[in-house]
Symmetry: C2
Subunit: 272 residues, 2 copies
């Protein structure tokens, strides 16, 4: 395996750029190839079979790009497709679910952990499974919050409507006395202020993006696959691919990433 | 052309079933083949190129089903893909935009018409184009309402949050004094009560589903393609296809359609 090869990162759309951003921050020597499935976004309301098929196509595309490892930045794909894929490919692959579960397991004091995510992620019960491995006896309470992504995308980040929807979604979690809440969808950390206000200051909010980049770094270090060479002047260490229009993606990416990106390339993901 | 052949109807998902329902009601002799692109829904935030590519795949699938005519039940696909497709196939094809535009043009008294729809439909300006052909000098005011579909899908049909969002989206339309409002997305008629309350009783709400079925009937009659034979006992006049899980679709379809549907079949639309 070539330690100078890029890390492949993928998501159903733009949300996974928050994970890519953490990887760039924590591992500034690494090259990254990002794929956003903007033509078929969102995944969170779709079936396991469909999300797994889409994820396989993207994994095949990233393998063609000769990546040394793959990070699934999408919670839904991590929850419902990763368990099948990880057994069948020969490069390391991690998702955002296990690192988030691990951080929550060590953060909780009372053993009561809430998970907010898409329908598909909640129904998979995968956060429960991982947390119970690491912290037997923990109580895990899941709640699907399908309006959070459209509210973020409509720009209602801090707004009375978002406050009201957050109160409705979170009230049952508050009543059960959780002390830790996993923000199990890449868009949710953008609502951190609203979530913290609604849950109260004593509840710890876990952001899987940060935990995943940390985990990825550790995994590459253990396998002696960390890149020890800084990108050279004139190198372009970050490449972006999408399934829908590249320009629209570029504009959104430039609001999320710390570096301006020069462009993205549209590819036909159906062919993989 | 075989007048006993079915009518093909398609949508990005389940919303187009409201159009299929009108077709079944207004033309009880007709067979219908419905396709819902549930694996790639929604279309309203995607590019013209992608929506056109998806629509072509579905048109090819419906042609393989030997349909005598195609109804695009999706406003977005009608707005941005139909103009290209209608010039290139040899069976009649209509969308929901032109019939809706026609109904609004004849309903308005003051010539001020509002259109609410997805981002893609509003940006296409296609409602304006059609209305100005039929009623030169009309003022057309478009407003994208991206939160309406998720609100409907979350079941907040009559809810203070939906009232508040409707007030925000519609206030500029109210200020301009429109007397007619086109509900330019298949989900919006489900919000009819909220929309009517927000706009006031004097504003006429146009439902393109109803107008499209009427237009389709007229078109088939003009071409001598109306089916004059009632379905026989044991016939199955309605067939449903989807790109994601069939069971989930069946459950939703059974809340929208007046008849119970026995099943839907999942097909691989990428292969068309």
């Amino acid at each position: 395996m070539d330690k100078y090869a890029p890390i492949g990162v993928f998501d159903s759309g733009v949300g996974g750029l928050t994970v890519a951003r953490e990887i760039m921050k924590q591992m500034p020597n690494e090259r990254v190839v990002y794929f956003g499935d903007t033509a078929r976004v969102p995944y969170g309301s779709k079936s396991k079979e469909t999300v797994t098929r889409f994820s396989w196509q993207i994994v095949r595309f990233l393998q063609e790009q000769q990546v040394k490892a793959i990070v699934i930045a999408c919670n839904t794909a991590s929850a419902i497709a990763l368990p099948e894929i990880e057994g069948e490919i020969d490069i390391p692959i991690i998702g955002v679910v296990k690192p988030g579960a691990k951080a929550a397991s060590s953060s909780t004091r009372n053993g009561k952990i809430g998970v907010i995510a898409t329908d598909a992620t909640i129904h998979s019960k995968i956060y429960s499974r991982y947390i119970k491995d690491m912290r037997p006896g923990a109580d895990i309470l899941g709640k699907a919050c399908p309006l959070f992504v459209p509210l973020v995308e409509e720009g209602l980040i801090e707004d009375p409507v978002t406050d009201e929807i957050a109160r409705r979604y979170l009230s049952e979690l508050i009543e059960t006395g959780i002390d830790t809440l996993i923000m199990g969808c890449t868009h949710y950390p953008l609502l951190r202020k609203t979530l913290q206000k609604t849950m109260g200051d004593d509840v710890v909010l876990v952001d899987p993006a940060y935990e995943t980049a940390k985990e990825c770094r550790q995994m590459l270090a253990d396998m002696n696959l960390l890149n020890d060479t800084e990108p050279q002047l004139g190198d372009n260490p970050y490449r972006f691919f999408v399934s829908d229009e590249a320009d629209k993606f570029k504009n959104i990416a430039n609001t999320i990433l710390p570096y301006g990106i020069l462009g993205a390339k549209k590819i036909d993901i159906d062919e993989y």
